[in-house]
């Protein structure tokens, strides 16, 4: 369990640094695909609530450190996403193209709705997408398209470092 969480930590850290140090400098990208969200939904759907919310919390922490958003926002957001997605543990087979893409699409919409709910409680500091904005559309598209690739990549790591203790 500890080793598995460590592997998740390192994978999430790697993706966070990839997003911030490499992708954020590609100026023609209107928004950066949210690889960390895809990781969180993968771990939640594959391994349940505990791993899901823990990976959500860790990924949120990384984004909060690197972003200009209020500290704690992404922790809160992604913990809830990980926990909720964890309810559907093993309900969907995270294989192929369609299932990961569809789950990523739903999770991205869920993230935006959740952000809008949180922004009601912290209206002056929390920004939220307009659901019909171009930026949101782009993020939705990129998360959907990248999800199968990321899921495949994470599946490879899951085979390398399998979770011994089932939760």
């Amino acid at each position: 369990m500890g080793k598995y969480l460590l592997s998740i930590f390192l994978i999430l850290l790697g993706f966070a640094l990839l997003e911030s140090a490499v992708l954020s400098n590609i100026i023609f990208l209107p928004v950066i695909p949210d690889f960390l969200l895809i990781c969180v939904i993968y771990y939640s759907f594959q391994h349940g609530k505990t791993i899901g919310e823990t990976s959500g919390f860790m990924s949120g922490l990384f984004i909060d450190f690197l972003s200009g958003c209020p500290f704690g926002l992404n922790c809160l957001l992604r913990t809830v996403i990980g926990y909720v997605c964890g309810f559907f543990n093993r309900t969907f087979a995270m294989e192929g193209f369609l299932v990961p893409a569809a789950l990523s699409l739903v999770a991205t919409i869920f993230k935006v709705l959740l952000t809008q709910i949180i922004s009601l409680f912290y209206p002056s500091v929390v920004n939220s997408y307009h659901i019909f904005s171009l930026d949101f559309g782009f993020e939705l598209l990129m998360n959907t398209l990248f999800a199968p690739v990321i899921v495949k990549f994470l599946g490879f790591f899951d085979d390398l470092f399998p979770l011994q203790e089932k939760l």
Binding site: E19, L23, F65, T79
Partner: protein, 289 residues
């Protein structure tokens, strides 16, 4: 039976962790706009951006190496052609032109840095915000270089100076800048010609115009498209008379006593690579004056 116990235990752990994470995140979010005894955000920012800086350096190095290898092989091919024909100078001319251009750009930066009376720190942009809802820029200078929170940041592009934003978070070797287009950024500004004072705020993206508010309707006749808006220096955060942008659109709203003015930023943020962080309270040791 044991199976049942196991399920309830794991369920409890998940809920327990959820409450812990939720409370931690909620508390941090509540404290994030105020100062707390331990600034987790700053500690984490320092650690993460140091790594970010490292990754950026590695990626840059790798990219430079790949480019260098490509460049070398291309040069070798060209050299062979040159050796054979001894007449194709185009590539060298182009290279010279690029170097000259870069030299000019750096010279302008250096001239500005020397001419400034205040101490200033040129810094390179190493990252932008990962969350498109927020807009911050990370640079490679931090507290060990003398950077402090709230220092104004400017840049020179094509020989023109413009305001970039201000420092909002300082790590050991890196800092975060809130650019003028951030929707939490407000700058006290003046229209250069008429000297009317207003407030410039961002709209969240460098692609969208800045907004200038609180300019009274009576000055409408005196305003023109392309008029320069500069920092007023009144709130003591920014240096006086540094261009923020130029007027691109003026809207008159019936129910409002002031004009709604849109500005095109003086800085093209999509091309911005280096910035200058200015410390207004310290004299410039490199200054020629």
């Amino acid at each position: 039976m044991p199976g049942k116990k196991r399920t309830s235990f794991h369920c409890g752990l998940a809920e327990f962790l959820f409450i812990i994470f939720f409370l931690f995140s909620g508390t941090m979010l509540a404290f994030s706009s105020k100062s707390f005894v331990i600034n987790f955000s700053q500690i984490g920012f320092s650690i993460m951006t140091t790594m970010q800086s490292g990754i950026h350096a590695v990626v840059s190095k790798a990219s430079d190496t790949v480019n260098a290898v490509k460049e070398t092989s291309r040069l070798r091919r060209e050299n062979e052609i040159l050796m054979e024909k001894l007449k194709n100078y185009e590539y060298m001319q182009r290279s010279n032109a690029e170097i000259r251009k870069e030299n000019e750009r750096l010279k302008k930066l250096l001239d500005f840095s020397v001419q400034q009376e205040q101490k200033n720190y040129p810094a390179q942009i190493i990252g932008r915000d990962v969350d498109s809802l927020y807009s911050v820029i990370t640079v490679n200078k931090g507290s060990i270089n003398g950077i402090r929170k709230n220092l104004p940041v400017i840049a020179i592009q094509d020989g023109n100076t413009g305001i970039v934003g201000k420092v909002i978070n300082v790590g050991r070797t890196t800092s975060q800048i809130m650019p003028v287009y951030n929707n939490h950024c407000s700058i006290s500004a003046r229209i250069q010609n008429t000297r009317d004072i207003g407030l410039v705020t961002g709209t969240g993206s460098y692609n969208t115009p800045l907004i200038m508010q609180y300019i009274r309707k009576r000055v409408l006749e005196e305003l023109h498209y392309g008029d320069v808006v500069v920092s007023s220096g009144e709130n003591d955060n920014y240096i006086q008379d540094i261009p923020i942008g130029t007027i691109s659109k003026i809207t008159v709203v019936d129910y409002d006593s002031s004009l709604n003015i849109e500005l095109e930023s003086a800085i093209d943020f999509s091309r911005l690579e280096t910035v200058i962080i200015v410390d207004r309270k310290e004299p410039n040791e490199r200054s020629e004056n």
